[in-house]
């Protein structure tokens, strides 16, 4: 099966006053039709930048290289006008901040309808009717009266439903959801994930889910790509990866999550990973995770480990792979 969306060797650099920053370095991933792919990692590891570059929504200080294929269309070479046809129709996006992502000056019906008028050539009246249907689809209570309300009249969860309704209005091929549940409380989170799952089944939309929340990943994703400092460090089907993580960063991430299912006492304390994600100025020559890694050896600090197939369906970029849990209480070996 050909992938719906295939990103290959994507690099994103930002020109800032303090010099160039390498936000994403030769990142590749692909999503099949109807698949949910999770991009996972800490804040600042390049997940959102990756997503924004797919839609070419990054500010002009960003320079992007690599290839982004939607079916057979190369998105990086499309004209600005052609790209606008893709946005909102073939690929749409949900953002992390439902509180600020809707325009405060327009009704939600107008804002949902706008996509339909733009891409489907609907009249105002048709768009409004369809907007009501879409609000029903995302399980908005009382959609017929809500459609004429303004964003500030809605709760965060309802606003995120509006964002989803807007994003799926044209039954997109790919939906990019950037931390869609992070700003919401847990019960609403579950409902939002439910809606996304439902859409995938109903419309066959591929979903690229960006999150740092492994609970969400376990809940909805088919496959996972773990990112660290702009690099892919591990990828694989969600079950395999959770069961048998290979990269020490993945191991660390999983160790930092409470696992009530392992109540047998296997894991007593939550583990943190000391340190922060580094900001890269140029392409690194050694493993980007080495400074925070307990397994790091001279080799790790001198060469960049390639992404290799380590398990039947799992890739990781590490010279010392394995799922054993690191014990940071002994300190990072210098």
């Amino acid at each position: 099966m050909t992938p719906r969306l295939a990103v290959k060797d994507l690099s994103v650099r930002f020109g800032t006053d303090e010099g160039e920053i390498l936000a994403v370095d030769r990142m590749s991933f692909s999503v099949e039709p109807g698949e949910v792919l999770a991009l996972v990692g800490e804040s600042g590891c390049g997940k959102s930048v990756t997503a924004m570059s797919v839609l070419r929504l990054l500010p002009s200080i960003a320079s992007v290289s690599g290839s982004i294929l939607l079916d057979d269309t190369e998105l990086t070479t499309l004209s600005a006008a052609e790209m606008r046809e893709v946005r909102g129709r073939d690929i749409s996006m949900i953002f992390q901040e439902p509180m600020t992502s809707l325009n405060p000056s327009f009704t939600i019906g107008f804002q949902i309808g706008e996509v339909l008028r733009r891409h489907e050539g609907m009249s105002r009246r048709q768009a409004r009717e369809r907007a009501i249907e879409l609000l029903e689809l995302v399980r908005m209570p009382a959609p017929r009266s809500r459609v004429d309300e303004y964003p500030h009249q809605l709760s965060g969860g309802m606003r995120q439903r509006v964002m989803i309704a807007m994003a799926v209005a044209c039954s997109p091929k790919v939906l990019i959801a950037d931390e869609p549940t992070t700003a919401l409380d847990v019960t609403i989170q579950a409902q939002i994930l439910d809606i996304l799952r439902d859409l995938r089944e109903r419309v066959g939309t591929s979903i690229v889910l960006i999150t740092h929340d492994l609970g969400v990943v376990a809940d909805i994703a088919d496959r996972v790509e773990v990112m660290y400092a702009g690099h892919k460090v591990e990828s694989g089907p969600v079950d395999d990866l959770f069961e048998n993580p290979q990269h020490p960063y993945t191991v660390g991430l999983l160790g930092a999550v409470p696992r009530p299912d392992l109540a047998g006492g296997i894991q007593v304390r939550l583990q943190e990973i000391p340190g922060l994600v580094p900001v890269l100025r140029s392409e690194p020559e050694a493993c980007v995770f080495a400074p925070r890694c307990l397994r790091a050896t001279t080799e790790c600090r001198e060469a960049m480990p390639p992404l290799e197939l380590l398990q039947p369906r799992q890739h990781a970029a590490c010279f010392h792979p394995g799922s054993r849990v690191a014990d940071y209480s002994e300190g990072v070996s210098a």
């Binding site: 929504l57 909102g88 129709r89 992502s101 325009n103 405060p104 733009r118 500030h152 807007m166």
Partner: protein, 318 residues
């Protein structure tokens, strides 16, 4: 919405009442004596006293105030001590003149400021930003009287295109009216445009940097719609407020501009009344100005709430 408007209305009325008191006292604190001015420099004390009695100037201030308010509520603002004519009549004759000047000035200001402010914000950090921004700095720095004289020198004295001063009612000769109003209106409009342009620029920049603009782009909307609909609507909220507040500054500009271009409006009447110690005339014209200012602010608040739904409902719920 209804409660919001009613509450604003109540505040406006209260402000108006307080301002009548301030006007009344302030006018009386001016140096000089109306009765003396009316009677003439060398009049004898008996004549001055007779004039005082006739105009009620010998009564205590609270009595004078209540009389003034009582009459004002019936539309009678008294008789001008300077001209001997009805103050209300004089105001009615002059108000349309000043109103026309103000409307033209605002139109000129908005026509300059909104497109340039938007242009500067969209092309931030380029020549299309620096040129209007620098221009607005010049517009802000140039005093009204100087710009007025400069325009008269250029277009009337040197080029001979426009009459230097005077006023012709629009109904009598539209061309004559506009050819005389265009320079004073530009003087006022340019100053206002400078302020508005900067507000427009920063409001647009703020709007363009917000998350909902990213959402609008992600929907595939064209830049024209993103900027001209999504950002503009939010930027206008700020600009309308500033425009309302600036109308107050416009009133003080009117006083000077009407003097330079010899336009028989409220501004000129204000100054003339001060020079002739015409309490009744001055009170009347300042009262009208204050009322205009309060009404404008009320309208700004209502407009603001129409543009910004958050205010409307927030106040309605309380």
């Amino acid at each position: 919405m209804k409660w919001y408007v009613l509450r604003r209305l109540g505040i406006s009325v209260l402000t108006l009442v307080l301002s009548t008191m301030v006007i009344f006292v302030a006018v009386r604190l001016l140096p000089g004596d109306t009765a003396q001015v009316m009677a003439g420099e060398s009049a004898d004390a008996g004549v001055v006293a007779a004039i005082r009695a006739e105009y009620g100037l010998n009564q205590p201030w609270p009595v004078q105030y209540l009389q003034w308010i009582g009459h004002a509520l019936r539309g009678d603002l008294g008789t001008s001590a300077g001209t001997g004519l009805s103050v209300a009549g004089a105001l009615a004759a002059r108000l349309p003149v000043t109103l026309e000047l103000a409307v033209l000035a605002v139109l000129i200001a908005v026509a300059i400021a909104l497109p340039l402010g938007q242009l500067a914000a969209v092309h931030r950090g380029t020549a299309r930003d620096y040129l209007p921004t620098t221009g607005s700095l010049i517009g802000l720095s140039v005093p009204h009287f100087w710009l007025g004289l400069l325009l008269i020198l250029t277009f009337s004295v040197n080029l001979g295109w426009l009459p230097a001063s005077g006023y012709v009612p629009f109904s009598q000769s539209p061309v004559g009216n506009l050819s005389r109003m265009i320079m004073p209106a530009s003087v006022l409009g340019i100053g206002l445009a400078a302020v508005l342009m900067r507000q427009m620029r920063s409001a647009m920049l703020e709007a363009l940097g917000s998350d909902y603009i990213r959402t609008a782009r992600a929907k595939g909307l064209s830049e024209r719609v993103v900027v001209g609909v999504h950002a503009l609507r939010n930027a206008l909220t700020t600009v309308v407020t500033v425009l309302g507040l600036e109308l107050g500054a416009l009133i003080s500009g009117v006083v000077i501009t009407e003097q330079i271009f010899v336009i028989p409006g409220l501004g000129k009447m204000t100054l003339d009344s001060v020079f002739s110690r015409d309490y009744t005339g001055l009170q009347g014209v300042v009262l009208l100005t204050a009322t205009a200012y309060i009404v404008i602010n009320f309208l700004v608040d209502v407009t603001y709430s129409l543009l910004n739904p958050r205010i409307r409902v927030g106040a309605g719920a309380s």
